[in-house]
């Protein structure tokens, strides 16, 4: 962290005079490639709504962890989210109902359970607000280290499994005929989303998380002709929105998460207008 602080001090950027801004910028520089990458597979696999549901289940896990007095409720939340993801995969594979219907069932149940547990015995819901709205400016060095570790794990996972995951997301039957264990691949990716979403939610909140998990790839998809451009643009859009949103929020005094989400929405609008250029 001290090296990062030293670099920030050299840069002639007034907003980086503050330690909380240095932390927030570093956290966003780690999160952008992390979510930019995951976003590509979430959008291709039509799991946007699912990642949103997982965010809610993570919040429920944190509430349950707090109630049971866990020292680190975030690990309780990881366990709950993974269980939620596995149960969802199981039910989806054995139900003939549409995936979005099953996601709706799980999402509303998770939210209801979270609020029920958090308010049990007249408890206040206010302390959980940071998980819903998030505040990137209050991210701690410990949380940044956790984000860095998650990023390293996701990059390794991506290098090893992205071809199989892509083919499974694009055409499961074709993937199966090429010897790819489709069910296992889908479950593995589902669990990976659950872990990443849950570990990130305490530092960034559900709002930034969902916008970063869907909008970068949705925008990149409008103008990409191949997987290389798709991944590259998704990561670049996430980086641009992260840095841009933080800067806008500093100078206008607005919420950083909302600014990031709005910039991503703007990028989507521009790329939507340009979508015919890709051919």
């Amino acid at each position: 962290m001290s090296i990062w602080y030293a670099i920030c001090d050299i840069l002639p950027i007034p907003m980086l005079h503050w330690d909380f801004m240095k932390n927030a910028l570093l956290a966003l520089l780690l999160m952008a490639p992390l979510f930019g990458l995951m976003s590509t597979m979430i959008v291709t696999g039509r799991m946007s709504f699912f990642s949103d549901a997982l965010g809610h289940s993570a919040f429920t896990g944190i509430a349950i962890g707090s109630i049971f007095g866990l020292a680190f409720p975030i690990w309780g939340a990881v366990g709950f989210s993974v269980m939620f993801a596995l149960l969802f995969s199981y039910v989806r594979s054995r139900s003939n109902q549409a995936a979005d219907t099953i996601i709706g069932v799980f999402s509303s149940t998770a939210v209801a359970l979270g609020i029920f547990v958090a308010t049990l015995g007249g408890g206040s819901f206010t302390k959980y607000n940071k998980y819903l709205i998030g505040d990137i400016l209050s991210v701690t060095p410990e949380e940044i280290v956790l984000l860095a570790l998650v990023l390293i794990c996701v990059v390794i996972f991506w290098i090893l499994f992205s071809n199989r995951l892509s083919l499974t997301a694009i055409h499961p039957q074709l993937a199966s005929s090429r010897g790819i264990p489709v069910g296992l691949s889908q479950t593995l990716f589902t669990v990976a989303i659950a872990v990443v979403v849950t570990l990130s939610i305490s530092s960034v909140g559900l709002l930034i998380l969902n916008s970063l998990l869907v909008l970068p790839a949705a925008s990149a998809r409008n103008v990409s002709r191949n997987l290389k451009e798709y991944h590259l643009l998704s990561v670049l859009f996430a980086l641009f929105a992260g840095i841009g949103g933080l800067t806008v929020s500093y100078y206008l005094g607005s919420s950083a998460g909302a600014a990031i989400s709005l910039i991503l929405a703007g990028i989507f609008a521009v790329t939507f207008g340009l979508r015919k250029v890709r051919g």
Binding site: L167, I170, L174, S177, S224, R225
Partner: protein, 250 residues
């Protein structure tokens, strides 16, 4: 039930042997006592009205569906540990908005190097060679979603032929392809099976090409109604009953 590694007791060298295969989903019997032999270098067309169980049958051969009975593969003079199946799926299953080039599709199937990093020189050469087999060299950088029906079938065929399979299975390869494209595709399949002595099993709703290209036609409607030479099956009362009375596309 698992795939058997042994060949069949039929007179010819038998590549695929299906004996008394039944599939039940829930309490619904989808397929009942299906028997089918596909010999090496033979082209077999599987036809039947909508809901006859053709797709379920292909899924069963691909190992994606539980079944009762025997499905056995063999190669003359060889025994493979596991049958290599070249599968050409029905083309509309691809999302036209996917940012996926033809080269990416091959890389995802054949390369260990992540496709999102781009193709290595040797992989690009291999993809070009595969596409050359189906006269599709110029398609390598095209997006899969922008290909015409005929182009997509050729790309999927090239993919199914690498590595060279024991049997090639095509799900409705002629749907969404214009008349000229159909002839080109069937000529190509004919050339491929002769060149590689490859067995081909395909489902189709288009019967106009069967006389010229298929060695055997199998009409199913949850069970085998009739099988044999194209002219025998297409002129049979079972065929008329299955399609004319049930409103299928004859």
């Amino acid at each position: 039930m698992r795939f058997s590694l042994h060949g069949g007791p039929c007179g010819h060298s038998c590549c695929l042997r299906v004996e008394n295969v039944s599939v039940t989903i829930g309490s619904d019997p989808i397929l009942q006592n299906i028997n089918l032999h596909v010999h090496c270098g033979e082209m077999v067309a599987l036809i039947g009205p909508n809901g006859a169980g053709k797709s379920t049958f292909l899924k069963t051969i691909l190992g994606q569906q539980e079944y009762d009975g025997i499905i056995a593969f063999s190669e003359p003079g060889k025994r493979s540990k596991k049958p290599r199946i070249g599968y050409v799926p029905q083309s509309p299953a691809f999302d036209p908005s996917d940012p996926l080039s033809v080269a990416d599709l091959f890389a995802c199937c054949m390369s260990r190097r992540p496709a999102f990093l781009g193709l290595s020189g040797s992989m690009r050469e291999l993809v070009a060679e595969c596409l050359e087999r189906v006269h599709g060299e110029d398609l390598i950088d095209k997006r899969v979603g922008t290909l015409s029906g005929g182009e997509l079938q050729r790309v999927l065929l090239a993919l199914a032929l690498e590595p060279l399979p024991n049997i090639l299975i095509l799900d409705e390869p002629l749907s969404g392809v214009d008349i000229e494209g159909m002839e080109n595709l069937m000529d190509m399949l004919d050339e491929i099976r002769k060149t590689y002595d490859l067995s081909i099993l395909m489902t189709t709703h288009d019967f106009s090409m069967l006389d010229r290209y298929a060695d055997q036609v199998v009409l199913i409607d949850r069970q085998v109604l009739i099988s044999g030479k194209p002219e025998t099956v297409l002129n049979s009362p079972e065929f008329s009953q299955a399609f004319h009375m049930k409103g299928g596309r004859a």
